[in-house]
Point group: C2
Chain length 178, copies 2
């Protein structure tokens, strides 16, 4: 996966195709799993696996170094959404200790043509995104939790993902070195 | 789905995120189905469902009218790949009767980081694309078949999708009218 950022920068696909493909994935999971909670978990897990790969591209493309603090992390996650999904969420609702913030979306490309049927009201349709955040942060030694607290699909005014700092992970040291 | 093309034209997502999401979809299907042939079929069927929706966006965005002939169709499919996947396949290998052509891809964004393990050599990894072509054409009253004949994932020099005209479908006439 070592490539020049410049080459990739020009590579974009139309969001409609992406949205429909994501919809096919969610539909398939709805067929596969007995209950909606399992689908939510599976989407998060898939996102996690995507996040641990996408971070490498993000670092190569942006040249970002270590985050100074969690506010810096928030800005970089915001930047990642702009790069990868073409939307710029608002960073809001900081906790007093500055260890939690929200990403608020006016529109979510993943849900553009989506309406949830009545039996899916507990589905976290775009839950892959929370997994991507968790996976990407973990790869830069930061354990976070991320979860939807508002969702326009459920009638909320905005879509909001809450991101909470849990702990800094120790750098893994290869066996035999110290 | 009636929207202004101009609004959507600016909406692009990064191809890496799309590629990884498509990979998650294929992996899930590999877990779900007992054999690779069923995965190929399921990918084609998902593509078909995407195609029958994507064509509306394509027509609105491009203002394309009816195709004069199958060569015209080939050019429009080529244009659609440029719009939706950011790649421009070469149209080649026309049959003498001009009812079959190939789309040849130097690179396929769907397979960028993919290597097929040995037990998946019959997997048509990007088979969703053939379904998209079939579904989109059917919605403009043209039955075609589309299938991979070469695939860089299998060691071929190019990736090639063959598209074959089958028949023109009658315009559906609503019941009670004639």
């Amino acid at each position: 996966m070592s490539r020049q950022g410049t080459r990739l920068d020009s590579k974009k696909v139309n969001s409609e195709l992406f949205t429909l493909t994501y919809g096919a994935l969610v539909s398939q999971l709805m067929k596969d799993y007995e209950n909606v909670e399992d689908v939510n978990k599976q989407l998060e897990r898939m996102g996690y696996n995507i996040g641990i790969r996408l971070i490498e591209d993000f670092l190569a493309r942006t040249g970002c170094g270590r985050c100074y603090d969690f506010r810096d992390t928030a800005e970089k996650i915001q930047m990642a959404f702009r790069i990868y999904l073409g939307v710029s969420p608002t960073v809001a609702n900081w906790s007093p200790a500055a260890d939690e913030f929200s990403l608020q979306f006016e529109t979510n490309p993943l849900t553009e043509f989506v309406e949830l049927p009545d039996h899916c009201l507990n589905l976290k349709y775009a839950n892959m995104l929370t997994g991507v955040i968790r996976g990407a942060c973990e790869m830069v030694q930061m354990e976070v939790s991320a979860y939807f607290v508002q969702d326009q699909l459920k009638g909320d005014n905005v879509t909001e993902i809450r991101v909470k700092f849990i702990k800094r992970l120790e750098d893994a040291i290869p066996a035999g070195e110290d």
